[in-house]
C-alpha cells in the first residue's frame, strides 16, 4: 500500500516539524503561516523520497493504544535504570567486578521488539547487548556482575521489561 505509507510518513514528518518550530508566531494557533507552509512542503518531499524506507511493511505501531503503553513503560524502565545506575556507581568506586558474556533467549517476534529490548538492556547499566542471533532470537549480553551463567529467560537480566515490550509491540 504505497499511498498509505506515503500518508503516514507525511503526517509523522509534519508533526515532528511542528513540534520543533512551536512558538514561532500566532497565525495558526502557535505557529506562523510561513513555518506551516515550509513544513508541509518538506514533509511532502520527504514522503515522496522515503515512503518505503521510513515505514516498511508493518503499520502496527500507528495505533495510538500502543503509544500509551510505551509511555507507561517509561515508568518501570526509569525505576530499573536508577537502581542499576546506583549499583554501577558503587562498582566504579570499589572496582569490584565479575564480567562475562551470557546468552539469553527471548520470546519476542517482531524486529522492533528485539530492538527495543536490546536498547533497554543496554541502557540499564550493568548489562550491554553485544550481538544478536537473528534466526533463534537470542541476545548475547555482556554482564558486569554475572550471577547466573545459563539464564533461562530474560527475567534475571532485565527484570519485567520483556513483558512490557511484548504488550506494546505485539
Amino acid at each position: 500500500m504505497p499511498l498509505l505509507n506515503f500518508i503516514v510518513t507525511v503526517i509523522a514528518c509534519l508533526i515532528f516539524y511542528l513540534i520543533l518550530t512551536a512558538g514561532s508566531g500566532t497565525d495558526i494557533l502557535i505557529w506562523s503561516w510561513q513555518q506551516f507552509a515550509v513544513g508541509i512542503l518538506f514533509s511532502l518531499v520527504v514522503g515522496m523520497v522515503g515512503r518505503n524506507v521510513l515505514v516498511g511493511k508493518d503499520l502496527r505501531m500507528v495505533n495510538p493504544r500502543r503509544w500509551v503503553v510505551l509511555i507507561v513503560y517509561l515508568g518501570p524502565f526509569f525505576l530499573e535504570m536508577a537502581k542499576a545506575n546506583i549499583d554501577v556507581a558503587i562498582r566504579i568506586i570499589t572496582g569490584n567486578i565479575n564480567p562475562g558474556i551470557v546468552k539469553i533467549p527471548t520470546n519476542l517476534k517482531t524486529d522492533l521488539g528485539i530492538t527495543m529490548l536490546s536498547n533497554s538492556i543496554t541502557l540499564t547499566p550493568g548489562t550491554l547487548t553485544v550481538d544478536v542471533d537473528e534466526k533463534t532470537r537470542e541476545l548475547y549480553v555482556h554482564w558486569l556482575d554475572v550471577k547466573v551463567k545459563e539464564p533461562e529467560t530474560s527475567e534475571s537480566v532485565s527484570g519485567s521489561l520483556e513483558k512490557w515490550i511484548r504488550r506494546a509491540t505485539e
Binding site: I92, I97, P99, K103, T122, T129
Partner: protein
C-alpha cells in the same frame, strides 16, 4: 524553592557524569569501559537536562515568554535523541570490538566466543 530543586538535580547529574568519566579511566577493558562511559554519562545528562526543564517551566509560568517554551520542548527532544542514539552507539562499538578480536579481560564466561 525552584532554585533548590535545580541545584539538587544538577548535583545528582554532575555526580553521575563524574563517575562515568572516572569509570572509563578505571576499568580494565573495552566492554566494562562502555558500561561506565556511555550509560552513567547518559543518566547524568538526563538529570542535568531535567534541571533545565524545571527552570524553563518555572520561567515559562511566571514570565510567559516563548523563549522558555522553546527551551523546554527542545531540551526534551534532545534527551529523547540521546536516549535513542547512545545505546545504539554503545552496541555498535561492542559488536565491532568483538568482531575485531578483542576479548573481555577477566571474564568468567564468554558464550559468544564459544559458539563462533
Amino acid at each position: 524553592m525552584i532554585l533548590e530543586i535545580v541545584i539538587i538535580l544538577l548535583i545528582i547529574g554532575l555526580v553521575f557524569n563524574l563517575l562515568g568519566s572516572i569509570g572509563i579511566l578505571r576499568f580494565p577493558d573495552v566492554y566494562t569501559r562502555l558500561h561506565a562511559g556511555s550509560k552513567c554519562a547518559t543518566f547524568g545528562s538526563i538529570f542535568t537536562s531535567l534541571a533545565v526543564v524545571v527552570y524553563g517551566s518555572a520561567m515559562w509560568y511566571t514570565q510567559d515568554s516563548m523563549v522558555y517554551a522553546d527551551m523546554v520542548i527542545h531540551t526534551v527532544i534532545a534527551v529523547i535523541c540521546l536516549l535513542i542514539t547512545n545505546p545504539t552507539g554503545a552496541h555498535a562499538i561492542a559488536r565491532a570490538a568483538h568482531r575485531s578480536g578483542i576479548m573481555p579481560i577477566r571474564a568468567v564466561v564468554d558464550r559468544l566466543k564459544e559458539e563462533k
